[in-house]
């Protein structure tokens, strides 16, 4: 496996260039199905990891810790937000080590799915979020806008 250069302090965008040139894409068949409590009129959403991002996650030393994204999200949530002034957090914070595919999906959930979903995923009448494989999704999309997480889903331990 190719060794990741020491990237702390290197602009994240430049790291992505390095990854694009040096890493093979990794197509994951893991999907995250979730329902947003603030958007219950719409069908369940399906999170799909990007293959280039997954390659970065498995490689290690490229992606910033997920907490950095939360800090930027806090800034963006301010009513007077115009422009990020703490983008350096993406570039200067020590990158995360190599992850397994499962750890990468956990990271991605905490990065790309609203916190109101994953922080209370198992509270309420049924789970708001389910991690599955592509073969467990419906085979065709004819009724895509009616997809929901079933009420009687059996969760693995």
């Amino acid at each position: 496996m190719i060794k990741t250069p020491e990237f702390q302090g290197t602009h994240l965008w430049e790291r992505l260039h390095w990854a694009k040139e040096n890493l093979e894409k990794v197509q994951s068949d893991i999907r995250v199905v979730y329902e947003d409590p603030e958007d219950m009129d719409n069908p369940a959403k399906i999170l799909v990891p990007d293959p280039n991002w997954m390659a970065c996650a498995l490689q290690g030393g490229i992606l910033p810790p997920v907490e950095v994204y939360w800090e930027l999200a806090k800034d963006e949530a301010q009513p007077d937000f115009e422009k990020h002034t703490r983008g350096y957090l993406l570039h200067n914070t020590k990158p995360v080590e190599a992850m397994t595919e499962e750890q990468a999906i956990e990271y991605l959930i905490r990065k790309d799915i609203p916190q109101r979903v994953w922080r209370t995923w198992n509270e309420g009448n049924k789970p708001k979020m389910v991690i599955c494989r592509t073969h467990q999704l419906p085979e065709h999309r004819q009724w895509r806008n009616a997809w929901q997480i079933t009420d009687d889903i059996e969760l693995a331990a």
Partner: protein
């Protein structure tokens, strides 16, 4: 053979073949002008290839949320979209954030209805 870095601020051409008038461009202009992200999604719920993308979320027929790895500096970025054949892809209303955007695919008949299909995007603007 290893390649090193070439650091310079200005790129200049004599333009001898055409006007013989020297032309210069600032390298920061080149950096600022290139797309900061692109994506080619050939099926609903999948990504063919991309740059600066962490995930897409399939939100229903013809609806996809795109999340970046390197945030943009502000929400004032410019998304360019495309779709197959006569279908068209648009930025979904009010969906721009520094973390990404939402794209919707539309099918043209007598009216526009959401549809799945190949869709392509690129994003210009300043990075965080």
């Amino acid at each position: 053979m290893a390649f090193g870095n070439l650091k310079f601020d200005t790129l200049t051409t004599s333009d001898a073949k055409n006007t013989s008038t020297e032309k210069s461009i600032d390298t920061s202009y080149i950096f600022n002008g290139v797309a900061k992200h692109w994506m080619s999604a050939t099926e609903p719920g999948s990504v063919g290839d991309s740059f600066n993308l962490s995930s897409t979320s399939d939100g229903g027929t013809g609806l996809h949320t795109v999340v970046l790895i390197n945030n943009m500096a502000s929400t004032a970025h410019a998304v360019v979209t495309g779709m197959q054949d006569a279908d068209m892809a648009c930025l979904a209303d009010g969906s721009r954030a520094t973390t990404g955007y939402m794209v919707t695919g539309l099918q043209r008949a007598d009216s526009l209805t959401r549809t799945d299909g190949d869709h392509f995007t690129a994003l210009h603007g300043d990075l965080a």
